[in-house]
């Protein structure tokens, strides 16, 4: 038997268990935990949402997580190698994982670049999104800013410089290119020596967000209005559980939150020694991910409550000022507390004058209902809240460093899902050192991601987010679980698990892998596609010339864009049937070639000892 050393160099391994766990946790805990989960919690009846969420975690999330970590650790290869080993016909699953990881890392790092841009701009007094800039001849403020808000203006105009629709591409925004270059450079420096440098970086990137969240929690709880935000968030509305949309969103949220089907987790666990209790790791990572989501929603909603309270008080103060000026009442006689009585008495005595003032109706509930998720939460709602907090620069810097850490640690997994399969496929020429190869991949990704730095970049990013980062992942996960449970065989898998962890998986895991998880995945996939197909694809465009500006104009996707959307959803997964058909043809034409036996480098595969007669 040939020695392994002459064929492959020693596989890198983790310095210690903590680095491995922190990397997996960092990959799973990402931006979505902070800006997607609290939003879902809010719109789906607060505390009641936790029930479908936790059910989905236990029956869908944890089994998938355990499965990926186990096969990576057992077969000691990246996603392509693993699925090739399990069954050559399913090699396409690995290719699909790699393509999806590549596409996701493109737009995900652009979001990290946006966070960096905001971070760079947080070191100013006053914060640039707190006031409107003056126009050309210094006679007034820029009109677009006055009509919307300074925060919106800074995001749409000074950051994105967004075009009014998708057809207009605009040009490359140099400041965005610069931020993107910084983001990719930082990713590269963490990847230079593979998991050696990643393992060091995650000590900071995986733990820093928790520190910042705690600081924000303490600060937020001392702000006025925070309790209203928290009550609003956590008040359970049990009726909402009857809505199937809630269950669908809970399942999709768990699925996308755990970052399964990217291949990154398989790569990370392949650097482990085989005798490692991956069951405990999987449960730990899954539980910590969900706990982080819940923990993050507390300061987020405390601060949103504070923001709603501030807006409410500002609205009331505007009305109070109008009344005071109109009726020449002594300054500060009308306060927020006695506003109602004053209003009633004045309206009773001089109704016409009061109605001429066009007072706004100020309702705290309306302000609390103004929810946002995604980039809207981070770059518009939260930045507005930060302006009202004393010492806003500090809070802005902390917040954006936290987002940066979250995004960077997730990028590690995304890019690892691209690099490890390429290494395992031996596509890297021998003369090229790893550092150069990594640099090449980062450079190519940076150049392709320049699309997102154009004027219409945000619209394209939303498309990538909705079409690449959703349906293909569900399909890949479904094939993964079918491959392991039925093609590899649950018996063989249990043997492997016994070898690795020391005990066979209990009945809960087996039932989940065989029945519950595939079923849930199929239901979620079908429901998701059905819901997407029902709504005509439209996108919100920021158009200053729109009649109802500052509302966003809802435009339909042009046909050529819609074709691209379909391509983005289907091209990653097309490799699954393609590779299967290719292997079938190869197999049928070269029936007697024994390549399959000799190409399997796994020393524990028993086929090597089959005696050929």
């Amino acid at each position: 038997m040939t020695t392994l050393k002459s064929h492959t160099e020693e596989r890198p391994k983790w310095n210690n268990k903590a680095e491995y766990l922190l990397t997996c946790i960092g990959f799973a805990v990402g931006l979505g935990n902070v800006w997607r989960f609290p939003y879902l919690c809010q719109i789906y009846g607060g505390g009641a949402f936790l029930i479908p969420y936790l059910i989905a975690l236990v029956f869908q999330g944890l089994p998938l997580l355990y499965l990926e970590l186990a096969i990576g650790q057992r077969l000691r290869m990246g996603s392509i190698g693993v699925w090739n080993s399990i069954s050559p016909y399913l090699g396409g699953v690995g290719v699909a994982s790699m393509v999806v990881s590549f596409c996701v890392s493109l737009f995900y790092n652009t979001i990290v670049a946006w966070v960096l841009w905001y971070l760079f701009n947080s070191f100013q007094e006053p914060l640039p999104w707190s006031q409107c800039p003056l126009n050309h001849n210094n006679t007034g403020y820029v009109e677009e800013c006055v009509e919307s808000t300074p925060v919106n203006y800074f995001w749409y105009r000074q950051t994105l410089n967004i075009t009014p629709n998708m057809e207009t591409s605009g040009s490359l925004q140099w400041w965005m290119v610069v931020s993107l270059a910084t983001a990719w450079s930082i990713v590269y420096i963490c990847f230079i020596r593979g998991i050696e440098t990643i393992g060091k970086a995650v000590y900071v990137t995986a733990t820093f967000p928790y520190l910042v969240l705690t600081i924000f929690l303490v600060r937020a709880l001392t702000l006025p209005g925070s309790s209203e935000g928290l009550i609003y968030l956590f008040t359970p509305d049990w009726e909402i559980l009857k809505n199937p949309q809630v269950w669908l969103d809970a399942a999709t949220q768990i699925f996308f939150s755990l970052s399964v089907a990217f291949g990154g987790l398989i790569s990370f666990s392949s650097y482990n020694s085989q005798k490692n209790n991956c069951e405990r790791d999987a449960v730990l990572v899954g539980v910590i991910n969900s706990a982080t989501s819940i923990y993050a929603s507390i300061p987020i909603f405390a601060i949103l409550g504070f923001k709603a309270h501030t807006n409410y008080v500002t609205c009331l103060n505007g009305n109070i000022l109008a009344l005071t000026n109109e009726f020449d009442i002594s300054d500060m006689n009308i306060t927020v507390e006695n506003y109602e009585q004053w209003f009633d008495s004045l309206n009773g005595t001089h109704p016409s004058r009061v109605s001429n003032l066009n007072l706004k109706t100020c309702d705290l509930q309306t302000f609390l209902d103004q929810s946002a998720s995604g980039t809207g939460l981070a770059f518009i709602v939260f930045t507005e809240a930060v302006i009202s907090m004393p010492g806003s620069q500090v809070w802005a810097v902390l917040f954006f460093i936290m987002l940066f850490s979250l995004g960077l640690s997730s990028m590690f997994g995304n890019l690892e899902g691209v690099l490890t399969p390429l290494h395992d496929l031996k596509l890297v020429p021998k003369w090229m050192p790893n550092e150069l190869f990594t640099a090449l991949i980062c450079l190519v990704s940076f150049l392709v991601a320049l699309i997102f730095t154009m004027g219409s970049g945000n619209y394209w990013l939303e498309i990538f987010n909705s079409y690449v980062g959703s349906v293909p992942l569900l399909i890949i996960a479904f094939f993964e679980i079918i491959a392991v449970a039925y093609i590899y065989g649950i018996g063989r898998f249990s043997d492997d698990l016994e070898f690795m962890t020391g005990h066979r998986p209990n009945i809960f895991w087996k039932v989940c892998w065989l029945v519950i998880s595939p079923l849930m995945l199929i239901v979620v996939l079908v429901a998701y596609v059905a819901v997407q197909a029902q709504t005509h694809p439209t996108y919100p465009a920021w158009n200053p010339d729109y009649v109802n500006f500052p509302d966003t104009e809802v435009l339909p996707y042009p046909d050529w864009v819609f074709a691209i959307c379909v391509l983005l959803s289907s091209v990653p997964v097309i490799s699954i049937p393609l590779v299967a058909i290719y292997r079938l043809i190869c197999c049928m034409s070269g029936r007697h070639s024994e390549d399959r036996l000799h190409n399997d480098p796994n020393p524990y595969a028993n086929e090597g000892y089959v005696v050929e007669s």
Partner: protein
């Protein structure tokens, strides 16, 4: 009351010049009554005159609105007649500063329609002719020129001491030559590039050292295989040399 004393003095002078000794005793009583009547008229007439000039929505007047409690909170002082006098003095100063020739006085600033808000109207009369009002545009220029001083005199700001109709000039935003974000970016990218170069160089050096050591340590690797250690994992059982593809053993 200034005009009243003027009138009385003039009349008194007129009376004295008419006659010296003859009319004195007789007209003394009449003088006193006349003066008294004139005095009364002055008291009534002067304000009435001023009232015509200063009124709500006066064409050449401005409304002033002061928000003391908003600006100063607990330290707010009480708005009383002394403060009104101070306002007149400040406005007179502003007018003097703008029109450097003419000497405005406190009496040239007429206030009216005072409310508890606190708000009031004021007009400015010319120092030469007290019935003539200074046009609105000139008053505006004077106020704009000394706005900062007027605000500071009352410990207020543009927002809490409002001249309705005179908009405060927008504060010019500070535009530094290098945008601050570029500085932060420069620091970050410099650190990252330095780190990349350092790591690449150290990797290169490590590889060179390894290559030098490889030719000497070829022996050690064989021993490691013999002891059954691969990839740092102890394999169970002993390694059977009979299955090695080694050139060291002679081919049978």
């Amino acid at each position: 009351m200034h005009c009243c004393s003027h009138i009385i003095l003039l009349f008194g002078q007129a009376i004295c010049t008419v006659g010296d000794n003859c009319y004195r005793a007789v007209t003394f009583l009449k003088e006193g009554m006349l003066v008294w009547i004139l005095f009364l008229l002055c008291q009534v007439g002067a304000p009435a005159l001023a009232q015509d000039l200063c009124q709500r929505d006066a064409p050449n007047g401005y409304k002033v609105r002061i928000s003391l409690k908003t600006a100063l909170g607990e330290d707010a002082y009480e708005w009383n007649q002394s403060e009104m006098f101070f306002f007149q003095a400040t406005m007179a100063f502003a007018m003097r500063r703008h029109f450097q020739m003419e000497t405005y006085n406190v009496d040239n600033i007429i206030l009216c329609v005072q409310t508890s808000r606190v708000s009031f109207w004021f007009v400015v009369t010319s120092p030469d002719n007290t019935t003539m009002l200074i046009p609105k545009a000139d008053v505006e220029k004077a106020v704009r020129m000394s706005r900062h001083r007027i605000n500071n005199a009352f410990l207020l700001s543009d927002r809490t001491l409002e001249f309705l109709g005179i908009y405060p000039t927008l504060a010019a935003t500070v535009n530094p030559d290098t945008p601050p974000w570029l500085i932060v970016f420069g620091v970050v990218i410099g650190a990252v590039c330095a780190g990349i170069i350092a790591l690449l160089v150290s990797s290169l050096l490590q590889k060179r050292r390894k290559e030098k050591g490889m030719t000497e340590d070829g022996q050690d690797e064989e021993d490691m295989q013999v002891k059954g250690v691969e990839n740092g994992i102890n394999l169970d059982g002993t390694y059977n040399r009979g299955f090695t593809d080694d050139d060291r053993f002679t081919k049978l």
